[in-house]
């Protein structure tokens, strides 16, 4: 226990000093790592713990992005408040999808298709709603004011992304230790057996979905005020939904460190392939990235983190009589 506390303090101190000690491109890499780990952690609650794979989390992300941007542009409401509104709206949408999907017993592929379809509907709506900027998208004017979620330089964004990740991981940790988390995992393992043991599978899946969606939306707000530009075909692209889910899957879904490890690994992979392969043949870096991804998924099917803990435990188990 003591060792854990010391380790925690050391990690926290390192993370606090880190952005001041590294060049700006490394700052970007770290922000991106935390940001995707955050989104992955949010997805993980539904996809990893409850085992309900969503291929439409871009919808909740976009709700968080557009809600905060539109409220700020048209009504002058701070994105910090808009972020909360976005989270509530995202939770509301997730409950709608969840009701349709879970009430009528959609499982596996059919649930995935439902989430994908809803995200696609959201993309079409965003493309055709004038208030969301339509195809042109929404531009956000830069006015450096922390209350407007806008900052000079990268360092504030670094700490916000890190803070988001900390909160999401804390929530995942609390869930994992609670009745809710135990039930979600049971549902993932076998829904009928869970029902027979008194688990209200419908209700718990709804809760997981709402929490996951509400956590995803602030990621969109962060994106809006980091990029200062929202466009439906970027934000609501299926690739974006894949980006959200791929990190927890690579890192180890249904674990707290999985999304973090997956995000770090993929950022490093992306950076590596861009640095060494982007100069020559166009698109080669993406191919290399894809190949490396296939290798990871092929050889570590349960994800990097579970494989690591398994390897670390094995020698210890061997020593037992």
């Amino acid at each position: 226990m003591k060792r854990r506390v010391v380790l925690g303090i050391a990690v926290a101190a390192a993370l606090a000093v880190l952005p001041f000690r590294v060049p700006s491109n490394w700052q970007n890499l770290l922000i991106s790592t935390f940001y995707y780990a955050y989104l992955g952690q949010a997805w993980n609650i539904l996809g990893g713990y409850a085992g309900q794979l969503s291929l439409g989390h871009a919808a909740f992300f976009a709700i968080g992005a557009y809600t905060s941007a539109v409220l700020a542009i048209h009504l002058g409401i701070s994105p910090w408040l808009g972020m909360v509104a976005g989270a509530l709206l995202a939770a509301l949408l997730s409950l709608g999808i969840g009701y349709l999907g879970f009430r009528f017993g959609l499982r596996g592929f059919y649930f995935i298709l439902l989430t994908l379809a809803v995200a696609e509907i959201c993309r079409l709506v965003a493309l055709h709603l004038p208030i969301l900027g339509g195809y042109t998208g929404l531009f956000i004017n830069f006015t450096p004011d922390p209350w407007q979620f806008q900052f000079q330089g990268k360092i504030p964004y670094y700490f916000i992304a890190l803070g988001f990740l900390g909160v999401a991981s804390g929530i995942a940790w609390l869930i994992q230790r609670s009745k809710l988390g135990t039930y979600l995992v049971a549902i993932r393992e076998d829904e009928d057996a869970s029902e027979a043991l008194g688990v209200d599978t419908f209700r718990y899946k709804m809760v997981a979905y709402a929490v996951s969606a509400a956590l995803t939306a602030p990621g969109g707000t962060f994106y809006a005020y980091f990029q200062f530009y929202l466009q439906p075909n970027t934000v609501l692209n299926i690739n974006h939904s894949v980006d959200i889910m791929i990190r927890p899957i690579v890192g180890g879904s249904g674990t707290i460190l999985g999304p973090v490890l997956g995000s770090l690994l993929l950022e490093l992979l992306g950076e590596f392939s861009r640095t060494y392969f982007a100069a020559g043949v166009a698109g080669l870096n993406v191919v290399i990235y894809g190949i490396l991804l296939i290798v990871v998924v092929l050889f570590l099917p349960r994800g990097v983190y579970p494989t690591l803990t398994h390897l670390m435990r094995r020698p210890a188990a061997g020593r037992r009589p």
């Binding site: 230790r177 609670s178 009745k179 135990t182 039930y183 995992v185 049971a186 393992e189 076998d190 009928d192 057996a193 869970s194 029902e195 027979a196 043991l197 008194g198 688990v199 209200d200 599978t201 419908f202």
Partner: protein, 247 residues
């Protein structure tokens, strides 16, 4: 007063009438055996009673309350718990965690649930396997785990679906003792069983289902002598069939 009252229960799948107007009562504290040849509708009857299927006709009353329209988890919360014919452990969870899920039916906090689960593992003889993953268990242990999980919910009525299938005679004997011990703690039991040794040893009363209909009921030693039952279930030579079933 009967704990479970099944009245005129029917269920068809297309043209197949799986369960036809089945009625019976189960008294509190009883062990009732449900036997019948393969495809007789025993498991369908279990599905209907436990809420996994809705009947076309008829009713199930439990502790004086109609169960019509209730979902399985609601029925479990009222104290009636079933096991599955093909054991369905949570494969990637440890044995202890499997049982914790059941124990959480009656407590809100994991800490208490773990304590209950450990107690149940002790009772069912699984304490040494507490840390093994569900997928690593042998068939007899899977059957025990199925029972342990159900027990952890603290049932008043336990529905056991072919718990003995695939076990060796020694394992069967052990499980019979375990079920007796559970019954001794005041749990009412309804069991589907093919292993005649277990049916005869445990049941105070036996129901016989054939082609979806109840064809006989009574004390086990009477039922196995009933010509209709011998013809439907045990075949022409009852002694031979018994040897087959328990071997």
């Amino acid at each position: 007063m009967s704990l479970l009252r099944v009245a005129g229960l029917s269920k068809s799948f297309g043209g197949l009438r799986a369960v036809q107007r089945v009625s019976f009562d189960l008294a509190e504290g009883e062990i009732l055996g449900l036997i019948g040849p393969n495809g007789a509708g025993k498991t369908t009857l279990f599905h209907l009673i436990s809420g996994f299927l809705q009947p076309d006709e008829g009713s199930v009353r439990y502790a004086g309350e109609s169960l019509a329209g209730l979902r399985p988890h609601q029925i479990c919360q009222r104290g009636m718990v079933r096991t599955f014919q093909i054991a369905r452990p949570f494969l990637h969870l440890t044995v202890l965690e499997n049982v914790v899920v059941g124990a959480l039916r009656r407590v809100a906090h994991r800490r208490e649930a773990v304590r209950i689960a450990e107690e149940v593992l002790g009772l069912t003889g699984l304490q040494e396997k507490a840390g093994s993953l569900g997928q690593r268990l042998t068939l007899p242990d899977r059957k025990r785990l199925e029972l342990a999980r159900a027990l952890a919910t603290r049932p008043r009525l336990l529905l056991l679906d072919e718990l003995m299938a695939g076990l060796t005679p020694t394992e069967t004997e052990r499980l019979i003792d375990l079920i007796r011990a559970i019954h001794g703690r005041g749990v009412t039991i309804l069991l589907i069983e093919h292993v005649m040794r277990a049916v005869m040893a445990l049941s105070q009363r036996v129901l016989v289902l054939n082609y979806g209909q109840l064809i006989a009921q009574g004390r086990p030693e009477q039922v196995v002598r009933d010509p209709k039952v011998i013809e439907a279930y045990l075949g022409q030579d009852s002694a031979g069939a018994e040897a087959d079933a328990s071997g």
